[in-house]
């Protein structure tokens, strides 16, 4: 591997960039070597079909992994049929092309099937120090492992499949220093929502950001993934957390991870003491409380204990119109129609445990449709081994097979027009969960508490509330 290109102190991002840069052209674009590719049926099927039509081969098929997550049915007893009109074509298409190109596919029914961003971590396919891409914007989730992971478009996907490389402009670097103690019931999701609310949906400046500081070091791996997942909602190119002992312990013994982990090399993947970032943000985790969004951008959020703010501009007015709320309304006074726990943001085992702790010995409020979709088949299995599914079901939640499900609307399942959903997902855009559906982003604990209460609620207030 090329070494010693520069003796100047470097950021973690610089190190990852340098160790994958094959060449740099005149205007500073780098040709970057890509170690791992994830494809899902929604966009991967198209990229593979185009590649086949070009008569191109996949340069390194052993480094390409396919998942069924976006369109697959998540209702129990599923097969290839899906609620998404025409959705079977994507499933059949990916299966056909994966076989044709000799790619490992985590198919419907595979015990390791799940949302790609979870599968790549669970299987040890994404590892510290690698470059990982997927035609899906939330690929940045995997930056939590200390790999350079980012979403790409279809044409770029064809390019990386055919050449194992991508041509990229080097993004600026952004240091996000998080100090203080993130105290329950606040979670990494709340931290991300505070960051985005404070600096805006484009506050990430298209930069490669690194989360640093004591609060980040204290987060477990799954919480780091939640934090990095939201980087794209912050307008960052990608996010990173430097590998530490937790990372190495997490990766160890996973199916595609090396039997003897190169611990020293992975520990060296950290920002040098005097390295300079292009931009810096500092945020106090101690000030973070449970959050909820009131609008149609992840930036439009407040504390659950807060009120809908007065609109500052036309985007705010438009959002309030769509979401059907008046300025000044207390969020805890807002009734909900549905509660959704799922997605690559918040459907890992620790998320389901948090929600189950709130749901234990309680019942979902009458009239609230409540659905839990574990992020992967492995998460589902682990949760069932702990009996969490019984807690969800006893509370009145549907317990599903894994997939993206109602995180996004593709013409299939939705909670309905005008319905208000409290959701652990990452996007509250207009129509994201269905035409006219109103989405309020929150943590699993807040979603669970709101399901019980029938209104937006924070878990710690549940007992004090008159039902």
């Amino acid at each position: 591997m090329p070494e010693g290109r520069s003796s100047a102190p470097r950021t973690l991002f610089d190190k990852l960039w340098d160790s994958h840069r094959i060449e740099t052209d005149a205007d500073g674009e780098g040709l970057l070597y890509i170690d791992r590719v994830c494809l899902h049926e929604r966009t991967g099927s198209i990229a593979l079909a185009e590649l086949a039509a070009r008569g191109q081969s996949v340069r390194r098929p052993g480094h390409v992994f396919c998942v069924m997550d976006h369109i697959v049915d998540t209702r129990p007893g599923r097969g290839d049929a899906t609620p998404v009109p025409g959705g079977e074509n994507f499933i059949i298409g990916l299966r056909h092309h994966a076989a044709r190109f000799g790619l490992r596919l985590f198919d419907v029914g595979d015990e390791n099937q799940g949302i790609g961003h979870l599968v790549m971590a669970e299987q040890g396919i994404a590892l510290p120090g690698l470059t990982v891409v997927c035609p899906d914007s939330h690929t940045c989730t995997l930056g939590a492992l200390g790999c350079l992971a980012f979403g790409i478009g279809s044409s770029e996907t064809e390019h990386v499949l055919a050449t194992s490389t991508l041509r990229l402009g080097k993004p600026a670097t952004l240091e996000v220093v998080v100090e203080g103690v993130l105290a329950a019931p606040a979670t990494a999701k709340d931290l991300a929502l505070v960051l985005i609310a404070e600096y805006g949906a484009d506050g990430g400046l298209g930069a490669a950001m690194e989360f640093r500081g004591g609060a980040v070091a204290r987060l477990d791996m799954e919480a780091r993934m939640t934090l990095c997942n939201m980087a794209v909602e912050f307008g960052a190119a990608t996010a990173l957390v430097a590998p530490d002992a937790k990372t190495i312990a997490y990766v160890a013994k996973r199916p595609y991870a090396p039997a003897a982990p190169p611990e020293a090399a992975w520990q060296a993947l950290r920002t040098d003491a005097d390295a300079a970032f292009d931009h810096r943000i500092a945020i106090d985790a101690g000030a973070v409380a449970p959050r909820v969004t009131w609008g149609t951008s992840p930036a439009q959020g407040v504390n659950v204990s807060g009120r809908v703010p007065p609109p500052r501009n036309s985007s705010d007015r438009r959002a309030l119109d769509y979401i059907g709320l008046e300025p000044g309304t207390a969020l805890t006074a807002v009734p909900i129609d549905a509660a959704f726990i799922g997605s690559c943001t918040n459907a890992r085992l620790s998320d389901l445990r948090l929600a189950a702790a709130v749901l234990k010995n309680r019942r979902v409020a009458p009239g609230v449709a409540a659905v839990c979709v574990p992020g992967s088949s492995q998460v589902k299995k682990a949760a069932e081994a702990e009996g969490l599914h019984r807690t969800f079901q006893a509370a009145g939640f549907e317990w599903r097979e894994s997939g993206c499900a109602m995180c996004f609307y593709a013409g299939g399942e939705t909670f309905g027009a005008g319905k208000r959903v409290i959701t652990t997902t990452n996007r509250n855009f207009e129509g994201r969960q269905g035409p006219g559906t109103r989405s309020h982003l929150a943590s699993p604990a807040v979603v669970a508490a709101s399901a019980i209460r029938g209104r937006i609620a924070s878990p710690e207030t549940l007992d004090a509330m008159v039902p």
């Binding site: 591997m1 690698l130 899906d136 064809e158 041509r167 402009g169 298209g206 609307y409 593709a410 035409p435």
Partner: protein, 217 residues
């Protein structure tokens, strides 16, 4: 297998100069879900997506095709628009390249905005659609001039010079030099990269020597 699963290759159209009607869509954070809602991506194909462009805003009935007269692209004054004037962070959100395919299919050749979603910007380049950055104040100037008579006050784009001009004024727009080259040449990026196949192979060998664990089967 349905035909659409077989794929079909079309060359990237080179972009040098373009003259056309510009439509303002100056709100910030126009995301790719808004550009094309997921439910409109019905086929395993890049083509025929123009009808789904901005479906949530463009049609009055959800999932239907009844034009919403208030939406800018439905207004007769902007009929035939091939240039969009957008706000900050245009094309943010999902990585779906369908957003660019839908814009192209509709006939959009260029978008000017103060900033773009990073993946969206790259997707534009890969499909021969120009994403030019223009400061917000300049955009308002352009939009104001166009608005007076959209069908007459056309914008002329010269990519080589990096200029967009009206009859009255000329403004510089930003574009990465590499992107400019790709657009100008209408180059197939894969063929271009494969000319460096030997360096890729050599780099990979060195990488696997240094990090054997990076290599799978």
């Amino acid at each position: 297998m349905p035909d659409e699963l077989r794929g079909k290759v079309e060359p990237v159209r080179p972009f040098a100069c373009h003259r056309g009607i510009a439509a303002p869509l100056l709100r910030d954070n126009v995301d790719t879900d808004a550009i094309i809602p997921s439910r409109e991506m019905r086929r395993v194909s890049k083509r025929g997506l123009g009808a789904g462009l901005f479906a949530n805003w463009r049609y009055a009935d959800v999932g239907g095709r009844l034009p919403n007269p208030r939406f800018v692209l439905n207004q007769p004054a902007y009929a035939g628009a091939s240039i969009l004037l957008g706000g900050h962070n245009f094309g943010c959100g999902s990585s779906r390249e369908h957003a660019v395919w839908a814009l192209s299919d509709f006939g959009i050749r260029a978008i000017f905005a103060p900033s773009f979603g990073a993946i969206f910007r790259k997707n534009c380049i890969a499909n021969g659609l120009l994403p030019g950055t223009v400061p917000a104040a300049d955009l308002s100037t352009l939009a104001g001039w166009v608005a007076a008579a959209p069908q007459q006050n056309l914008l002329a784009i010269d990519l080589r010079a990096g200029k967009v001009s009206t009859a009255k004024a000329e403004l510089a727009f930003g574009i990465r030099p590499g992107d400019r080259q790709l657009l100008l040449r209408g180059l197939d990026p894969i063929a271009h990269t494969l000319t460096a196949a030997a360096s890729i192979d050599a780099f990979e060998r060195a990488r696997f020597d240094a990090c054997p664990w990076a290599k799978l089967n």
